[in-house]
């Protein structure tokens, strides 16, 4: 086991522990659980960053990789997404006293990193000639940042649906008073998606540019491409609902969840369908 995988496994365990602490806080309202969540998450981020740096160093040891990032493999992409997800939560939501949302967001960070360390090989090797492209380097990085943001948004959407049904029930439990207000959750969901959407579009555009440069055409009918466009369309519908049609509350929250489901299908489902994006099936 290399140093980087020890660090990354450590980060995985800390993220998982932080997710459990967040769930504990949700149900017990013991402030210690919330503090434990932040501490565990903070150390998890630190280990993850060290692990990432170690992997980067190994990757850059190949001179031809010097100007690129190790994100074009399944492991690299998932690990980076998890890092972005946990960091976004740590610096935005937890700071904005929305730590209670950790219960809805952190499990994604733990699962994504868990999938990386358990399913994919962290090995680094010299990038194949066609992969040595700036476009292709930005492509997964931007997409993983967007996906991390969408994961955060879906956690917020789940919290919103819980809060909405609490108030609708006329028998709110204590959870109702501890979750952020409907308006805050709605605004946060919209804000996160509005910020992530341009990143998603830019990331997809990078992919298309690279496809054009390498394969000579933009559209290759690759299943992952199709799925990614569906994701973009779903979030487009969300933005239209939220900002143009004046829809708030439950329905846009459902769309946000559908969008994230589409992200998951795009990211993992394409592995089953093979095609040019397959990381697990094809050569890693």
């Amino acid at each position: 086991m290399t140093a980087q995988s020890i660090f990354t496994w450590g980060a995985f365990f800390l993220y998982s522990a932080a997710a459990f602490a967040a769930l504990g806080y949700l149900f017990s309202k013991d402030a210690r659980a919330s503090r434990a969540m932040l501490t565990l998450l903070g150390f998890g981020l630190l280990l993850h960053a060290v692990g990432f740096a170690a992997r980067l160093a190994a990757f850059w040891a190949f001179p031809e990789n010097r100007f690129f990032l190790p994100l074009t493999s399944f492991y690299g992409a998932l690990s980076f997404m998890s890092l972005a997800l946990a960091a976004a939560f740590f610096f935005i939501e937890a700071r904005a006293r929305l730590g209670i949302l950790g219960a809805f967001v952190l499990p994604f960070a733990a699962l994504a990193l868990g999938a990386a360390v358990a399913l994919a090989r962290p090995d680094v090797e010299p990038l194949a000639q066609p992969l040595r492209s700036y476009w292709l380097n930005l492509h997964p990085m931007l997409l993983m940042i967007a996906y991390a943001a969408f994961a955060n948004a879906s956690g917020v959407a789940v919290a919103l649906l819980i809060q909405e049904s609490q108030i609708k029930s006329r028998k709110p439990t204590e959870l109702c008073y501890r979750l952020p207000s409907l308006d805050e959750l709605d605004g946060l969901n919209g804000k996160i998606i509005a910020l992530a959407y341009p990143v998603l579009i830019a990331g997809l555009a990078m992919g298309f540019v690279w496809a054009y440069l390498d394969w000579g055409r933009v559209w290759t009918g690759d299943p992952k491409m199709t799925l990614a466009l569906i994701t973009a369309a779903v979030y487009g519908v969300f933005l239209w609902q939220h900002f143009a049609a004046g829809r708030r509350g439950r329905r846009p929250a459902y769309v946000s969840l559908v969008g994230f489901a589409s992200v998951l299908v795009t990211f993992f489902g394409a592995e089953l369908l093979r095609g040019r994006h397959a990381y697990l099936g094809g050569p890693r």
Binding site: A31, K171, P172, E174, Y177, S181, L182, D183, R248
Partner: protein, 350 residues
């Protein structure tokens, strides 16, 4: 005896002594005790209780009789018969319960914590607190906060208006910048308007069948009055609606709310119907983004909060007991000359 507590609280039947003591400014009490050579004392004086905590630094215990005598002189009343007295660990446990709101008339109320803090600060400013009382009162404030944040004793509003405000905040967050529409101008409407304004509602509009009364109520809370016929238009702007008219049938219909919703840009609408017979058609609750609470809904939440507070008492008492044990271990270690840290004491007491 190292620590002595004398108290006159809402628990004792006769209130004459308590009232007499409450009339004496705390500064005078402290000055008098200091003049009589008391080294450490804190007096907690609120409308529901008067309590004195005294500690001695030497081996000589604080003298109950001389303290009572001093207080009786200040109050100009006979006090001894009604006084509760506690010593050492029992006095510590009592102070922790008081700070936690467990000894209050409304269990879990938070005001007492501030009053304990003020009492401690006054004594500290008079130079009447030494190590023991400093640590004791800082501990009491800590325990009071801990009990409230970790148990349900302070959770849940205990009255219909507070429950309504809490729900409004669960929907909108802060109420500043939100607008409220009050239908009716009776006593209930007035009470509701008062609570909303106190909570910082941005805009208050009143509609009533009798224009003069709407105008009068609006004027009292620097709100705005609208003609009765115009209130459906106001529904477009309002975030919270409080209905308490004496109308014989519903005045806010589903069709009316649906028309308003189309122009609201998806903003939530919180309707509170405290009228009997009802002012708002029940079916509006089924609309997306509309939340209708009737008086009995609010009342049942209050009832539930009250019973869960009672349940939380046991957990709160356990915290008080645990922290009393810690403090006691620390206080005893002080006497033996090998002072434990309170953290350490926590370990040995746990």
């Amino acid at each position: 005896v190292k620590l002595l507590q004398l108290g006159w609280s809402h628990r004792c039947a006769a209130s004459a002594a308590r009232e007499a003591l409450a009339a004496v400014p705390v500064e005078r009490v402290l000055a008098e005790l200091k003049a009589r050579g008391v080294s450490e004392a804190v007096a907690v004086s609120t409308c529901n209780r008067f309590e004195l905590y005294a500690a001695s630094s030497s081996d000589a215990p604080p003298e109950r009789e001389s303290l009572l005598e001093a207080l009786a002189e200040l109050a100009g009343a006979e006090l001894a018969a009604e006084a509760e007295a506690r010593e050492d660990a029992r006095a510590v446990a009592h102070l922790f319960s008081v700070a936690s709101g467990l000894d209050s008339l409304v269990v879990g109320e938070t005001e007492i914590l501030g009053q304990v803090k003020t009492a401690y600060e006054a004594a500290k400013a008079s130079g009447l607190t030494g190590k023991r009382l400093n640590v004791l009162f800082q501990r009491a404030l800590y325990v009071g906060k801990k009990v409230r944040s970790e148990t349900g004793v302070a959770a849940g509003a205990m009255s219909v208006p507070s429950v309504a405000i809490q729900l409004a905040e669960s929907i909108f967050g802060k109420l500043e910048g939100k607008s409220a529409l009050v239908l009716g101008a009776g006593a209930m409407a007035e009470l509701a308007a008062k609570r909303l304004v106190a909570r910082g509602i941005g805009r208050l509009t009143v509609a009533n069948r009798t224009w003069e009364r709407a105008y009068g109520l609006a004027a009292r809370f620097s709100g705005e009055a609208v003609r009765w016929e115009e209130f459906p238009e106001e529904l477009v702007r309002a975030d919270v609606l409080i209905a308490s008219t004496g109308a014989p049938s519903a005045v806010v219909t589903r069709a009316m709310v649906e028309r308003a919703l189309a122009k609201r840009g998806g903003r939530s609408l919180f309707l509170i119907d405290i009228a009997m017979p009802r002012d708002v058609e029940e079916s509006v609750h089924a609309l997306d983004g509309v939340f209708l609470y009737r008086l009995e809904d609010l009342e049942s939440i209050v009832a539930k909060n009250m019973s869960s507070r009672a349940e939380a008492m046991a957990a709160a008492r356990a915290i008080v007991e645990e922290k009393t044990g810690e403090f006691d271990a620390w206080a005893r270690s002080l006497r033996s000359g090998r002072e434990l840290s309170l953290r350490h004491a926590r370990g040995s007491a746990a």
